[in-house]
């Protein structure tokens, strides 16, 4: 049997809405101020796993936020510059993360029944329905996938 049904994980809505896109996954926490370039949505922090990669339009899967209190302001800028992630999926709730997600207006979820860092790989297609608290993951290496 081919796995024609996507993998479904449930979690808690942080910011409502529905979005889908390719996943960009990192086990490194992300800094806002000094960590990203809001013009392009690129991670700039030295020694970061995603250094040089852009999260613009991607479903960003990561442990959570770190660094300066400018986190929300920097991600707020990505929305105004059209380089924001399509959605945020993260594990650790902090004030930086919550406020940043709220002002980015991207559907966001946390408190998952299974760790998204274990279930999602970069390039997988992910549909986030934060209102229902459900994410659907289509692995990129299975038949019948969307690009």
């Amino acid at each position: 049997m081919h796995n024609i049904f996507p993998l479904v994980i449930r979690g808690r809505k942080v910011v409502g809405g529905i979005a889908e896109g390719e996943a960009l996954v990192t086990r490194d926490r992300i800094s806002g101020w000094g960590g990203i370039d809001p013009r392009t949505g690129t991670v700039i922090e030295t020694r970061h796993e995603l250094r040089g990669q852009s999260f613009a339009g991607k479903v960003l899967v990561f442990p959570g936020a770190k660094g300066s209190s400018g986190w929300s302001a920097m991600f707020h800028m990505t929305r105004l510059m059209n380089s924001a992630p399509a959605a945020f999926l993260f594990n650790e709730m902090t004030t930086k993360m919550a406020l940043g997600a709220v002002v980015t207006h991207a559907p966001s979820m946390t408190d998952f029944e299974r760790d998204p860092l274990e279930c999602i790989a970069t390039g997988d297609w992910v549909r986030v329905d934060a209102d229902r608290g459900v994410i659907e993951i289509t692995k990129k290496n299975k038949p019948g996938d969307r690009p």
Binding site: V14, M93, T94, L99, V103
Partner: protein, 431 residues
């Protein structure tokens, strides 16, 4: 989230559209956190003014109005609303440049004019234009237990740990909403159970100088990340650390890790004893800080330092206290900054006026150094032209400047830094 009658009235628009937008943001933010309610605050520290070309262009596109900038950047409201006077005491934090030294920092006249307009707007609404990362140096000293809404990691950790007041690391938009409503989500460090220590750091060495406290802070941040450490010594802490030491310690711990609250057993207000700091719980981990850990931390902070020639010496992160300026003035009096080097010392405006009056500014300027205000090199990304190597007495700046500007950094004592400024060479080393 549960709202009081007063909060419901603000949410329903009784106090006008800006307050309504502020309540809407607090509701969205509180629900995102999973908070059950809001808490009253009358003490906000925030970035309000604008210093970037992007914000200038945004203001122009919206007809030049500063209310549009506040609506979007401080309230997350795409609709421009008229901003009323702030409801609670609000202190402005540091900026992206020193408005008194724009040329030195490479800032155009046009941006200075835009900044001046935005400062007048913020002051007109009731912001205290303190322009410092250390509001507790210049008149904003919250009381133990007071609920605050502060930005700036080094100020947050000082507020929670040294003063025993209560704040989370807020952002531009949540502090914007707090100014207009006097409310912030009741979550995180506002609650007793989150303020107890999770990690014990047992001292095996004396920690005395400002540099010692910086090294200890940097070590702790790396090891506990964003958890709550308690520093303990079986022999007792020794000499009580003063304002510059704790300011420097917290800033280091919040840059190498994300520490927002710490305890020092016998010293800080919620840790009269180790047991009180732990609140009856067993620590997650006990760390031992001895000579080997101190040396390893020193090497780590100095990892980018390679060349002996130093083109720039920066002092003051967080902003220097008057005690530190007095010390620097004594160290440099009668000496001259080397022609191939510059010395910039950053302090709050209010402290600079004290330094002017005390004659310290003149001593520093006569030696070829300069006292600057409102900003720092990490915020402004401004360093003297041709800077390849910097000497610093701040572990926090030694952490950020190589990452932000790609320069080499030497971290040492104030005396070593002043010496580097006068010789153009780094001669420091582990003491």
């Amino acid at each position: 989230m549960h709202l009081s009658d007063e909060e419901k009235a603000m949410y329903d628009g009784r106090d006008g559209p800006a307050v309504q937008k502020a309540m809407d943001l607090l509701m969205r933010y509180g629900e995102a956190l999973g908070a059950e309610r809001l808490v009253e605050t009358r003490n906000v520290c925030a970035t309000i003014t604008s210093t970037t070309p992007f914000q200038r262009d945004f203001a122009l596109a919206k007809g030049g109005g500063m209310d549009a900038v506040f609506s979007e950047f401080s309230l997350d409201s795409q609709e421009t609303v008229e901003i009323p006077k702030f409801k609670v005491f609000t202190s402005h934090l540091q900026l992206g440049f020193d408005p008194g030294q724009p040329e030195r920092m490479g800032v155009s006249e046009e941006i200075v004019q835009f900044y001046n307009k935005s400062e007048r707007h913020a002051a007109g609404l009731g912001a205290q234009i303190m322009n410092t990362c250390t509001p507790y140096q210049v008149g904003n000293i919250p009381t133990r237990g007071e609920h605050c809404a502060w930005m700036e990691s080094s100020a947050v950790v000082y507020c929670n740990s040294v003063l025993g007041a209560r704040t989370n690391t807020e952002g531009r938009e949540s502090t914007g909403a707090a100014m207009l409503t006097g409310r912030i989500p009741y979550w995180g460090y506002h609650l007793d159970e989150n303020r107890r220590a999770t990690h014990v750091v047992e001292l095996d060495v004396e920690v005395e100088s400002v540099q010692d406290w910086g090294l200890l802070g940097y070590y702790i941040g790396e090891h506990v990340q964003e958890r709550v450490p308690v520093v303990h010594s079986k022999r007792g802490i020794g000499r009580v650390p003063n304002l510059p030491r704790l300011k420097h310690f917290g800033a280091a711990a919040s840059s190498s890790g994300g520490v927002e609250m710490y305890h020092i057993a016998g010293i800080t207000p919620e840790a009269l004893t180790l047991e009180q700091a732990l609140g009856g719980r067993a620590p997650v981990e006990v760390l031992r800080y001895g000579e080997a850990e101190r040396r390893a931390t020193y090497e780590k902070i100095n990892a980018t330092g390679k060349d002996a020639e130093v083109q720039y010496v920066m002092l003051g992160c967080p902003h220097y206290t008057i005690e530190q300026i007095w010390e620097a003035a004594q160290l440099i009096e009668g000496r001259k900054v080397h022609p191939d080097c510059e010395l910039w010392i950053f302090t709050p405006r209010a402290i600079k006026s004290l330094a002017d009056r005390n004659g310290y500014t003149k001593i520093i300027e006569d030696a070829g150094g300069i006292l600057m205000t409102d900003s720092c090199s990490a915020m402004s990304r401004a360093v003297p032209k041709g800077t390849r190597t910097v000497a610093l007495d701040s572990a926090k700046q030694a952490h950020y400047l190589p990452a932000i500007l790609g320069v080499q950094a030497w971290f040492g004592s104030t005396a070593e830094c002043v010496d580097a400024a006068c010789t153009g060479r780094w001669n420091g080393g582990m003491q």
